[in-house]
């Protein structure tokens, strides 16, 4: 560990040697770093030095700097959509509950099936109880009033929560000895993976009501979440398949020789290793899912992107669309970059463990 720390320290000597290895290299280094510095300077100038920050001095906006007043004035709309204004503290706590769930499950001591499922179900339950409210004796707020970042996080967490067991089920079915079961799983996985996510969600939102008797239809949001969960599950099944392939066949046979049942072999011997092998790819799949939730704006949900559009859609704030979109992009970027770096870290750590 200590060695790794030392080698991570910035090697100034090597940096200089490599930057100016040849005349061509020197020219490239100077030009590229100058370009990057110019970009950073422009961004700094626009975003901080010349920016207007508070909603009170809107009139000063529009002089070459960013107008962050629009965020100051509209951040509640962007983050929480049409949720009743006085109840925003509930949305805030609910969002923190989901973010907390994700952060906690990044710590290795939570990585048992029991703990992870408890944490996720608890986090999701806290979110739902707070947002819906009626069970806690708070004023009821129905799902059609949820919006903004809160809705995006809701979609994300429910998709992962529903999709993970479905993915495991599909992966097991695809490995089954029974040809019909295997064929069924392969068909579903390959079909969903070849179709754009938008097509799947659109089908759930628009086509499924035609195919179901009216008493089974349910809410549009739940249909879309289940379809999204299926999409997640099909990719997760492929991720787990990679994990299964890394387990030598002898381990199944050893389990059988000891007289363990199928589920005992799976639960005690195989699955813990499968999930360990599939961990970086699973994190990646979760990251992609969070990114793809942005697509629900097209099928008419008021997610963070839709609320951002609404925030600059009207009158006085209309010229400041760049600020609003940059704000939303920054939120996505922080989440996605953070989780992505965590995935990279896991990958490196496991490489070390395998040596």
């Amino acid at each position: 560990m200590a060695d790794a720390m030392v080698s991570k320290k910035f090697d100034w000597q090597r940096f200089r040697r490599r930057s100016f290895a040849s005349p061509t290299d020197s020219v490239i280094t100077v030009i590229v770093f100058a370009g990057l510095a110019w970009l950073v300077w422009q961004a700094l100038n626009w975003g901080i030095l010349n920016a207007v920050w508070s909603a009170d001095d809107v009139e000063q906006c529009g002089h070459g700097g960013a107008c962050w007043s629009v965020i100051d004035a509209r951040h509640r709309l962007i983050l929480f959509g049409l949720y009743p204004y006085d109840e925003h503290w509930r949305s805030t706590l609910a969002c923190l509950s989901i973010i907390g769930t994700v952060v906690i499950s990044c710590f290795p001591w939570t990585w048992t099936a029991k703990r992870l499922s408890t944490i996720w179900i608890a986090g999701f339950a806290i979110y739902y109880l707070l947002m819906e409210g009626s069970l806690l004796g708070l004023p009821q707020v129905t799902t059609d009033q949820w919006g903004g970042l809160a809705l995006t996080l809701f979609l994300f967490s429910s998709v992962v929560l529903i999709g993970m067991p479905m993915g495991l089920g599909l992966a097991l079915m695809r490995r089954s000895e029974m040809p019909v079961v295997r064929g069924f799983a392969s068909l579903v996985i390959d079909l969903i993976r070849s179709l754009p996510l938008l097509t799947t969600l659109f089908t759930a939102a628009v086509v499924i009501p035609i195919l179901l008797p009216s008493w089974l239809e349910g809410d549009k949001i739940w249909r879309v979440i289940i379809a999204f969960g299926l999409f997640f599950a099909c990719y997760q099944a492929e991720v787990l398949r990679g994990g299964f392939q890394a387990i030598p066949k002898g381990q199944f046979e050893a389990g059988k020789a000891l007289g363990l049942t199928y589920w005992q072999i799976l639960g005690r011997i195989v699955l813990p290793q499968v999930f360990r092998h599939a961990l970086p790819a699973t994190v990646n799949n979760v990251v992609v899912t969070f990114k793809e939730t942005a697509i629900v704006i097209i099928i008419g949900f008021f997610d963070i992107l839709a609320s951002a559009n609404a925030a600059f859609g009207t009158g006085e704030w209309a010229p400041y669309y760049i600020e609003v979109l940059a704000f939303v992009a920054a939120i996505y970027w922080v989440f996605l970059f953070g989780l992505g770096q965590y995935g990279e870290y896991l990958k490196r750590r496991m490489k070390v463990a395998e040596r």
Binding site: T29, S194, P196, V206, I210, L212, K291, I298, V328, A329
Partner: protein, 377 residues
Amino acid sequence: MDASALKARANRRKLIIQSALIVFSALIIISAIQSAQVNLNALGLASGFGFLERSTGWSYSFSLIDRDINDSYARTLTIGFLNTVFLGLLTIVLSTIFGFLIGTFRDARNPALKTAATVYIQTFRNIPLILQGIFWYAIVIHLPGPRQAMSLGDAIFLSNRGLMIPLLNVSLTVALVMVLVLIAAAFLMARMKISVIKIVLALIGLGFFMVLIATGLTVPAGESAISWPELKGLRFVGGLTISPELLVMIIAITLYGSAYIAEVVRGGLAEVPKGLIEAGEALGLTQRAIWARIKMPMALRTIIPPLGNQWIFIMKATTIGVAIGFSDLFYIVSTSITQSGQTLELIAILMGAFLLVNFSIAQFINWLNESLKLKAH
């Protein structure tokens, strides 16, 4: 119980589970068909593909071929399909070129190139594609109008009507034939194992030669060989106009796709055994030769399979065009659904089209993979 009895019991169990699955699926399908009939009857809709002959009566943003507001649904859907395939293939090619370039920079020794490539990848990969599309679209439609268009040497203009570029004054058929000849020539030369640099040079020469002949033969006397965009009144005439929707889709998907492909390329380059590179250095090869003769050929074998997944991803990503009004297949299908109500048939067409396209890409990748495989000794 003895072994054979146990085995028989296990077999019975398997048979029961599988039959149950078949019966269950069949029940779902049958009940779906029944409720579809009930629901469609209630809406007064006739199922079937007869509506394809009817004319649509609505307009949309982009088409590669001639179109009219009275086109039939069949022709409109074909236009949507062509738009999707066109945009998909174009962005696949652009993303692959930029992806390989940036992936190579990411793997370069020069820290400046490495930093720039990392910034590029981390910026464009970690923001949802649809948000990037909406962002670029907002920028483009807020650009100044044609009269105040930004221009580059009075040949290329950028305004809120899109990008105007000069165009060869030849018909579409002639242009298509030239492109096909170039592809065929590239393929032939690749089969003859000519080096990449020579192929590129030969193609440039051949292209130039063909352009000279084609313009000489087909452009009528008195007209110039190249049509330049010109401001006439409130709009541009001549040249080629790339509409804001198409322009934004190309930019957004290329930035996003190339960032992903760059990561794939970097991963492939990182897998090349260090010993091979050191062997190249010991032989006195230059860095460029090591890259072209050792690293890339070795890395390609790990790059190709995930690259295929990225191509399929890009093809699927064209569907977000609906968010900014680019008339891809998904846009046409969803508009057709609102206008005609033939939901089931139109969704089936949409799914069938994507299955077809993605299956073709997968086959192509398999072929590529086979032909690049190291031959066994």
